[in-house]
């Protein structure tokens, strides 16, 4: 008996059904996709561009570009990953326009300030949420992540904030998996080191609650 690969029908995800309806010209389906992902695209765009107006533009341009190129979407990745790739490219273009003096690229190897072992190793106690109010904490987190190079920031946001898998992040950024892992490790360590300055210092100065 010859062995024939079973023809397994892949179940079509709800997302892909919306994409197919949108491809056939159903704008309500496309609007549902916008509703589903606009918050994510906005967050990613603002993290990359660090500018509210630019982020608003990126949301519009990314969805419009996705709409205009739906026919070219091959359905080999999730629609969301494809959309993120468009949004990241749009956001990086905005960033380059604003900061032309610095080349902004995801491909180049980003130099880190310090890859050696962390030296300050006191734990964060009490928890940062108990040490600062919400507005203070938000300010610390925003300023800290803004200090990371764009290449690290983007990988961290996609992987750890938006929850994309390593493979999806690599796909969205057109990077290799080892490159994503390397940037992610360095982004996480740099953020930890920078946050340490706030969370450790205050802990040692406050004494017992």
């Amino acid at each position: 008996m010859s062995t024939i690969q079973p023809n397994i029908e892949q179940p079509v995800s709800e997302e892909m059904q919306l994409v197919r309806r949108a491809k056939r010209g159903d704008d309500t389906a496309f609007e549902e996709l916008v509703r589903r992902y606009d918050r994510n695209v906005f967050r990613i765009a603002q993290h990359i561009t660090q500018n509210r107006e630019d982020a608003e533009d990126v949301v519009q341009e990314a969805f419009l570009k996705a709409y205009g190129n739906l026919a070219k979407f091959q359905e080999q990745s999730k629609f969301y990953t494809w959309l993120v790739r468009i949004a990241v490219n749009e956001a990086l273009m905005k960033l380059r326009r604003r900061k032309p003096e610095r080349t902004v690229s995801l491909d180049e190897e980003v130099k880190t300030e310090d890859d050696s072992l962390p030296r300050e190793v006191a734990d964060w106690s009490p928890n940062p949420e108990q040490m600062y109010n919400q507005a203070e904490l938000r300010d610390i987190l925003t300023r800290t992540i803004q200090g990371l190079p764009a290449g690290f920031r983007t990988v961290f946001v996609l992987r750890d904030v938006e929850g994309l898998s390593t493979e999806e992040t690599a796909d969205a950024l057109e990077l290799s998996i080892p490159a994503v892992k390397s940037r992610l490790l360095r982004a996480r360590l740099q953020l930890r080191e920078r946050l340490n300055r706030f969370f450790q210092k205050k802990a040692s100065g406050d004494g017992d609650q």
Binding site: G25, D27, F30, E31, V34, R35, D38, R39, F42, R43, Q46, H47, A55, E56, V59, Q60, F63, L64, Y67, G68, L117, P118, V121, A122, D123, W124, N127, P128, E129, L137, R138, L141, T142, I145, F156, D160, V161, G163, T166, K181, L184, L185, R188, L189, L191, R192, L195, N196, F199
Partner: protein, 85 residues
């Protein structure tokens, strides 16, 4: 295992994608190396705090305005690029 070796595997360790043997080696290292334990713990907290931070949430009014602008531009695009079939 040296601390630098532990650090190189930290992302894989936190993401839970290590084989059982490597994970055991890292667990053993953490059991006696306080520095690496703290780095690992505070890195985990770093990820959690950003994940839960809700930075850059899209306000409802802006969201409605953006969606309306997007759909109106899509409609214009459709008019100027009618389907070929």
């Amino acid at each position: 295992m040296k601390c630098s070796e532990f650090l190189n595997e930290l992302t894989n360790y936190l993401d839970g994608v290590l084989d059982a043997r490597t994970k055991t080696e890292l667990d053993d290292h953490l059991a006696w190396c306080h520095n690496c334990y703290v780095v690992c713990d505070t890195t985990r907290k770093t990820i959690e705090i950003y994940r839960d931070s809700e930075l850059y949430e899209l306000p409802d009014d802006l969201r409605t305005r953006l969606r309306s602008a997007i759909m109106s531009k899509c409609s214009e695009h459709k008019k100027s690029n009618p389907p070929s079939s």
